[in-house]
């Protein structure tokens, strides 16, 4: 045990020598300002605290569970709802472009229009977890349906994706496009007053890009088009939109937002350079070179490690204490 404590302290000394102690960065906000540590710093700090020593900048850190009032989210929600309404308004003519390409039997144009419209829908990242069954109809994947791709309720963007990239006659897809447009119309009536929850909303700032890594760049959710790169770019837009609405709450509350900003700029630059390298179009996942894939996956991973701090920084309630179990009795 003594050896472990010593190692932890030595780790802290080494970090301090490198100048990574990190101040709380202009914390002028009325909320307490916990720090964002690198994973290595956090590990060293937790080890040190466990061993009875101090944190990376010499003092035990204050607990970072400092709740915000729920009302602090009223304005972010209002901004977010009007952003989403605008995105859906743009989606309508984008679907019309897709419809026109299907009608004139132009597969390349239809695929491009599909990509544009689908990426538009992904920009609603802050709220789409709240759309329920309508989201399944618009952007659901067939894996969860009992009949898979043959299931009658498999519809929406991915039903069109399957048809477009597997050579289905384009005229046969017009019905699916019409159904999608109807669902989007229904969503437009709903999106302005979709119920939002502070905890879920701040989790979205982190999880939109988690979904991009898990479902899009892996190809899982886009097996036919492989459109993970454009999907990730749309997820980045959505993340920035959500973060933008939360910026006032995050400012000074954590260094987290500064670290996140740095990573999101890098991620944007990586995506842009990939697009340029592919002649200005978003490449399918499989068309990324190994180096491009590593740059994108790695930068996205770095961004996610930074984004993980956002939900914890925006809690509105302290977790209730867990009541103890009554006198233990061995289970059978």
């Amino acid at each position: 045990m003594a050896a472990a404590a010593l190692a932890a302290v030595l780790g802290i000394v080494a970090l301090a020598a490198l100048g990574v102690g990190g101040g709380s960065g202009g914390a002028t906000h009325s909320f307490a300002a916990p720090r964002k540590l690198t994973p290595l710093q956090a590990y060293s700090e937790q080890s040190a605290i466990r061993a009875g020593a101090a944190g990376v900048d010499g003092a035990r850190p204050a607990p970072d569970l400092v709740p915000l009032p729920a009302s602090a989210f009223n304005r972010p929600f209002a901004v977010s709802r009007s952003y989403d309404a605008r995105q859906l308004a743009v989606l309508v003519p984008e679907l019309a472009t897709l419809r026109a390409a299907l009608k004139r039997d132009d597969r390349a144009a239809a695929e491009a229009a599909w990509q544009t419209a689908w990426a538009r829908y992904l920009r609603l990242g802050g709220v789409y977890g709240e759309f329920g069954a309508l989201d399944q109809q618009i952007d659901g994947t067939p894996g969860v349906l009992p009949g898979g791709t043959h299931d009658p309720s498999f519809s929406g963007f991915h039903r069109l994706e399957m048809g477009l990239w597997t050579g289905a006659p384009l005229a046969s897809l017009l019905g699916w496009e019409a159904r999608l447009s109807v669902d989007v119309y229904r969503l437009r009536r709903f999106v302005g007053h979709v119920p939002l929850d502070p905890l879920d909303y701040s989790a979205r700032a982190h999880e939109i890009l988690e979904d991009a890594q898990r479902d899009l760049l892996s190809g899982t959710a886009v097996p036919w088009s492989g459109a993970g790169v454009v999907g990730t770019a749309a997820g980045l837009d959505a993340t920035e939109e959500v973060l933008g609405t939360l910026r006032g709450l995050l400012d000074g509350r954590e260094d987290a937002i500064e670290v996140v900003d740095t990573w999101l700029v890098r991620l944007r630059a990586t995506l842009d350079s990939i697009r340029r390298a592919h002649g200005g179009v978003w490449p399918a996942n499989a068309r990324l070179t190994q180096l491009q894939a590593e740059q994108l996956d790695g930068t996205l991973g770095g961004a996610l490690e930074a984004l993980e701090a956002i939900p914890g920084a925006l809690e509105t309630t302290l977790p209730p204490p867990i009541p103890p179990l009554p006198a233990p009795r061995p289970s059978t």
Binding site: T141, G143, V144, L145, P146, G148, H206, E207, E210, Q213, R214, L216, L217, S218, G219, T220, G228, N285, A293, E294, D297, G298, G301, L304, E305, L307, E308, G312, P319, P320, I322, P323, P324, L325, P326, P328, R329, P330, S331
Partner: protein, 428 residues
């Protein structure tokens, strides 16, 4: 099917491996066992050394009323292998299954490999040396529902509950990693034993049973605090705490073994249903979630494995005293999986899963997860009921079931002349 006493293993190793092998092995094991360990690390070392000596020579009986590898304590390593039959007729299929049993039995018993003519290819690949140590090997054979289609005239003998594994909520089953005519679960203490066994078995049935999918698994090491402590899965939580007691024969009869009657064909008595599920765990995402949220999702403390509010892994979570979920959330994994009520007691399953790691996915994310393996008497009453309840758990964001299948595991051979599946063909 109780595991042999360790001392007995060492005795067996003398007979099996010869003096040289035993001498080499006990050099590491004996001194550690003799002197009292001075530190926790040394205690772990002593434990590991003693286990290594015992395990390589350990043989699990292949023959019996039930197949091995079901109630057998989990060995450290496993491969689950699904095969499809390309046999042209029932007789060819029958012979392949018979050969599969014969070879599996030889390997589980261990022994010296036969020496053939020097210009012949060796009968055994030899990657374990001239003597195959049994190493706790079990080979468990299951049959998929597709084997009972119209190809081999077996449709009337189909076990009543054997269907193609359905898509459950949140599943993303990859057909190339799902289902299959025959399933072989190979478990042993050492990786090379498992690899050798898989290689020998597929060679045995080559041209008749062809590989469809496979998944390699490993068990977390015994890191205490007690020998009974459940091992951790790749979410770092102890897994298997509430497993039914395999030494309780009456309970196994109630939850695991298919009995006679009840509409099942007679040949199935003494068998069981295996639910195999390759469950991808999005571990990077999980690692980015606060510990409290992780624990709330599971319903247990990560380090001790105790139910939340408790102190010890095997404590009863007492849901009866927590009807509103103040202590353990109503949608926590352990609460939905096993509500511990009288009504749900008959739904319990025997889990025997393995962690897996198979590199990276297309997005550069670690491809890790759980090869979930569960034995139960009636998958509709047991596994599927539980799985439907789990559709509502928050943990679904962090996992994706990607493969596996339902299989019927026939009864054991009954003796050294029997073979797995013989009852099916006797009545077909």
């Amino acid at each position: 099917m109780s595991p042999l006493d360790r001392r007995q293993f060492v005795t067996r190793s003398a007979a099996l491996l010869g003096a040289g092998g035993v001498g080499a092995l006990s050099a590491g094991g004996a001194p550690a066992a003799a002197s009292a360990p001075a530190s926790p690390v040394e205690a772990l070392e002593a434990r590991a050394d003693a286990a290594a000596v015992a395990n390589l020579a350990a043989a699990v009986p292949f023959d019996g009323p039930h197949q091995a590898g079901i109630l057998t304590p989990r060995q450290a390593q496993a491969t689950v292998l699904a095969l499809d039959s390309i046999a042209p007729d029932q007789l060819t299929l029958r012979e392949a299954l018979q050969q599969l049993t014969l070879r599996a039995r030889e390997l589980a018993q261990g022994g010296a490999n036969p020496l053939l003519e020097i210009d012949d290819p060796p009968a055994d690949s030899g990657i374990l040396g001239p003597v195959n140590a049994p190493d706790g090997l079990t080979v468990t054979i299951g049959l998929g529902s597709s084997l009972f289609d119209d190809r081999y005239g077996l449709a009337r003998q189909r076990p009543r509950q054997l269907i193609t594994m359905p898509n459950f909520a949140h599943d993303a089953l990859d057909p190339t990693r799902s289902h299959g005519d025959v399933l072989v679960q190979v478990c042993a203490h050492q990786r090379d034993t498992v690899v050798h066994t898989v290689r020998e078995l597929v060679r045995t049935v080559r041209g008749t049973l062809q590989q469809r999918w496979a998944l390699d698994g490993f068990q977390s090491a015994d890191r205490g605090p007690s020998a009974r402590s459940s091992r951790r899965n790749l979410f770092a939580f102890r897994d298997g705490t509430a497993n039914p007691d395999v030494t309780d024969a009456a309970l196994m009869k109630q939850l695991v073994w298919v009995g006679s009657g009840g509409g099942e064909p007679a040949w199935t008595a003494g068998g069981t249903y295996l639910v195999a599920r390759a469950i991808r765990m999005h571990v990077e995402f999980w690692d980015r979630v606060g510990l409290q949220e992780q624990q709330t999702m599971i319903g247990r403390a990560r380090d001790s494995g105790a139910p939340l509010g408790g102190t010890e892994e095997f404590e009863d979570p007492r849901y009866d005293l927590d009807p509103t979920g103040r202590r353990i959330a109503l949608d926590a994994h352990i609460r939905l999986a096993n509500p511990r009520t009288t009504a749900t007691a008959e739904q319990r399953i025997l889990r025997r899963g393995y962690n897996y790691h198979r590199g990276f996915d297309q997005a550069g994310a670690l491809d890790q997860g759980l090869m979930f393996m569960a034995f139960n008497q009636d998958p509709a009453r047991q596994f599927a009921t539980i799985q439907d309840r789990l559709a509502a758990e928050p943990m679904v964001d962090y996992i994706t079931p990607v493969g596996g299948g339902y299989f019927f595991v026939p009864p054991g051979t009954g003796g050294p002349n029997g073979w797995i599946g013989s009852g099916l063909f006797a009545s077909a």
